[in-house]
């Protein structure tokens, strides 16, 4: 796993550059190093070893025997939009069902699917006891943000943003236990605590040795 601890202000700057709403709401923070080993969909499914996307190509993993999009054989032709329904079907294998409310419900874990005009774009997972949402924006650092609207953006596919929340899914804690996801979530929470500790140590180090542009 290629994880890279970047200086905090560099990481924050790249996130603020991408998500304008984060500039307004200051209640968000970094939670992991920069990593390209997984992305938002895998992170919503509590996995950090693969990239997930419903597509017929070996660049991405997707649970077997489920519908996937078939891209054109020519790379300069844009891929067909990824239906939100494909992600819903994929997460149904982990015990998730559709849901209307985004607020925390005791006994349930929730994930949100974002979509824009070009189809599904992103997923966020609710933290234990509804203390914010966990997102992995592409290759950037994981973040905890207070609200789903913090990373929403324009609906145009070429705006390079996530669009709006299109679907909420939920599953019971029991279902999370049965799928071993709860243990993975707890393990990741422990990992994130270690990362947090490491961030703090590095912050002290970076204060002692000022960063200079090359």
């Amino acid at each position: 796993m290629a994880a890279q601890f970047r200086p905090t202000f560099v990481a924050q700057r790249s996130l603020l550059f991408a998500f304008r709403n984060l500039r307004r709401n200051r209640k968000w923070r970094l939670r992991s190093p920069f990593s390209d080993s997984y992305q938002c969909i895998a992170w919503a499914a509590c996995r950090t070893d693969h990239k997930w996307w419903p597509v017929h190509h070996t660049e991405f993993y997707w649970p077997p025997n489920l519908p996937k999009i078939t891209p054109s054989p020519y790379p300069w032709i844009p891929w067909p939009p990824t239906p939100v329904d494909y992600l819903v079907q994929g997460f149904a294998t982990l015990g998730y069902t559709s849901c209307d409310r985004r607020e925390f419900e005791f006994g349930y874990q929730k994930v949100a699917i974002y979509a824009n005009d070009g189809g599904a774009t992103h997923m966020a997972r609710q933290r234990f006891f509804g203390r914010g949402w966990l997102s992995k924006p592409g290759e950037l650092e994981d973040i905890i943000h207070e609200d789903l609207s913090d990373i929403e953006g324009a609906m145009a596919a070429t705006a390079w943003q996530y669009g709006q929340v299109a679907q909420i899914l939920k599953r019971s804690w029991w279902s999370a236990v049965a799928n071993l996801c709860l243990f993975r979530c707890i393990w990741h929470a422990f990992e994130l605590c270690l990362y947090d500790l490491w961030w703090r140590i590095l912050k002290v180090k970076w204060k002692l040795i000022p960063w200079k542009p090359i």
Binding site: A2, S14, A18, E59, F60, G118, T121, G138
Partner: protein
């Protein structure tokens, strides 16, 4: 040196005639005050002017630098002196910077820089394939989809799907087997 009193007086008169009597031409206190203020004012003005001139010079220098830098860039482009690798790196950096927050592969592939790299690949696919594999080793950028088109092959097995480390390793091994330049 004057030897007589007359000579001395004449000499003194000539000095007075030339330079004036310092004791008689002394300024009044008021005039002296105003004169000083004048000096201060002119000095202040000169400092402002000097600073303005410095700023102007600095700006001109910056403009010249900027112009030369960009002009050289434009000339390089016109002459085509940028190598394929330089053009590839430039576009790849831009692509990564502007789309690294996106998870959707379809959205990332719609980016103009990605399309520009695909255009380069159409001109000389063999070079682009080796550049992409080298870039994956150095910067871990995901070129898998474009690579499988240009190489007309996909060494990544279904069990390795989505695992970046294994996929990069598979492509590097593929390149060794193919013996690309």
């Amino acid at each position: 040196m004057p030897t007589t009193m007359t000579e001395f007086r004449n000499n003194l008169e000539s000095i007075e005639a030339r330079y004036g009597d310092p004791h008689q031409n002394r300024m009044s206190l008021r005039h002296r005050f105003l004169y000083r203020k004048d000096c201060q004012w002119s000095r202040a003005c000169s400092i402002v002017t000097r600073n303005r001139n410095r700023e102007h010079d600095w700006l001109q220098r910056r403009k010249r630098q900027w112009f030369l830098r960009h002009l050289s860039h434009v000339i390089d482009r016109m002459e085509g002196s940028l190598t394929l690798e330089q053009r590839f790196r430039e576009q790849a950096d831009k692509w990564q910077k502007e789309t690294q927050h996106l998870s959707s592969p379809s959205q990332r592939m719609m980016h103009p820089s990605y399309q520009a790299i695909l255009g380069m690949g159409n001109e000389n696919p063999r070079e682009i394939v080796s550049l992409m594999i080298r870039d994956m080793q150095e910067h871990r950028r995901p070129w898998f989809w474009a690579l499988s088109y240009f190489a007309q092959d996909n060494p990544v097995s279904q069990s390795e799907a989505g695992n970046t480390d294994k996929m990069i390793k598979a492509w590097v091994n593929w390149e060794k087997v193919q013996r690309l330049p």
